[in-house]
């Protein structure tokens, strides 16, 4: 997905290093959609943050060859995902986007995931309650059974999330201790 044209490197990376970096970017752009469903553009932009940590939208345009609109949408999504933060460059109206830590080691990222799951659980429970309350009147309506089944299965899945998060805390905790 990334453009092969490398007009100039925003951080002055050596061409041989840049080539290695491009191979890494292409690997994630190809494999992330296949295994995780992540969009190839998001995977591309995210990988540049993995290696560079701090980038402006202009830097990203130079590195990827994507349009200004595509880059703007991508950094917006990465901020919503708690992967990067935005700062204003002092004395300018320009913004720099930073990835403090790799998402899979970042409390901010997992905190966002935990919050999302809590919100989902709350909303799904509310939906289930409404369906239960009106079961008699709704049961023969088209889609009632399917909607009910989907909600029940999602609630079951979410109930396993605390265990998953605890395991991540434990294993990533070892990682942060090992690196202190």
């Amino acid at each position: 997905m990334a453009s092969n044209k490398t007009p100039q490197d925003p951080h002055g990376f050596d061409p041989e290093i840049r080539q290695i970096e491009q191979q890494i970017v292409e690997f994630f752009a190809e494999k992330s959609p296949e295994f995780t469903g992540r969009h190839p553009i998001i995977a591309t932009v995210m990988t540049y943050f993995d290696t560079r940590r701090s980038l402006t939208q202009q830097d990203l345009r130079k590195l990827t060859g994507f349009s200004a609109g595509t880059i703007s949408k991508s950094v917006r999504q990465l901020m919503d995902m708690n992967v990067v933060t935005k700062e204003t460059i002092p004395g300018t109206h320009k913004h720099v986007y930073r990835m403090e830590k790799l998402p899979f080691t970042s409390a901010r990222y997992f905190g966002g995931t935990g919050k999302l799951l809590e919100e989902m659980e709350k909303e799904l429970k509310e939906m289930k309650e409404t369906l239960d309350t009106h079961a008699e009147e709704m049961k023969d309506l088209e889609g009632y059974r399917k909607i009910y089944t989907t909600i029940t299965q999602l609630l079951e899945l979410i109930s396993t999330a605390p265990l998953f998060m605890a395991l991540i805390d434990e294993e990533i905790g070892k990682f942060t201790k090992e690196n202190k």
Binding site: F27, S32, L102, M120, L124
Partner: protein, 176 residues
């Protein structure tokens, strides 16, 4: 007036369906998927079996967008397609339940972690050429590789332990 209550109930159910689609779409978006792809997936989770025509009616997206999303989902093993003998139209069916689909995706991530390890072994070999160590940008790639060296095994352990705990718990739940 007599018809207004059933209409209200029907409206309530459709509102819940829309909230469910919106919720699943948001969850997909926050995992780095496109909104369109996430919305199409949400409808498949609910309907379990769809046609391109039905997805077009439900989402309003172009047939090209729908077809691309379905191809990706087929490749991921989330849906499988079969042709209707009467209409010759393709039907896309969710492969198992929503829970089974999610647990299968955890296995896919383990496979992804394995492929990452293999790929980065090659990258490590390329980066180990001594003449590269003082080149600009070397430290960035080195730091990323060092972090992955720890993060990948940590995640492998998480997925193995999670699957083992969940599969141990399942037979007990079924007995109850």
């Amino acid at each position: 007036m007599e018809n207004s209550k059933p209409r209200l109930i029907e409206k309530k159910l459709r509102t819940i369906e829309k909230r469910l689609v919106d919720l699943l779409t948001k969850a997909g978006y926050l995992k780095g998927r496109s909104r369109k792809f996430s919305e199409i997936t949400a409808h498949i989770y609910i309907h379990q079996e769809v046609t391109q025509k039905l997805l077009r009616k439900l989402t309003g997206y172009s047939l090209g967008t729908i077809s691309t999303a379905l191809q990706t989902l087929e490749k991921q093993g989330v849906v499988h397609k079969h042709s209707d003998p009467d209409t010759h139209e393709y039907h896309y069916e969710l492969d198992g339940t929503v829970s089974q689909t999610v647990f299968r995706s955890l296995r896919d991530i383990q496979q992804f972690l394995y492929q990452m390890k293999e790929f980065f072994r090659g990258i490590e070999a390329k980066l180990s050429h001594p003449h590269l160590s003082n080149k600009k940008g070397y430290e960035n790639i080195r730091q990323f590789l060092d972090e992955l060296d720890i993060v990948i095994p940590a995640h492998e352990r998480v997925f193995q332990r999670f699957q083992s705990i969940v599969s141990d718990a399942k037979p007990k739940q079924e007995v109850q």
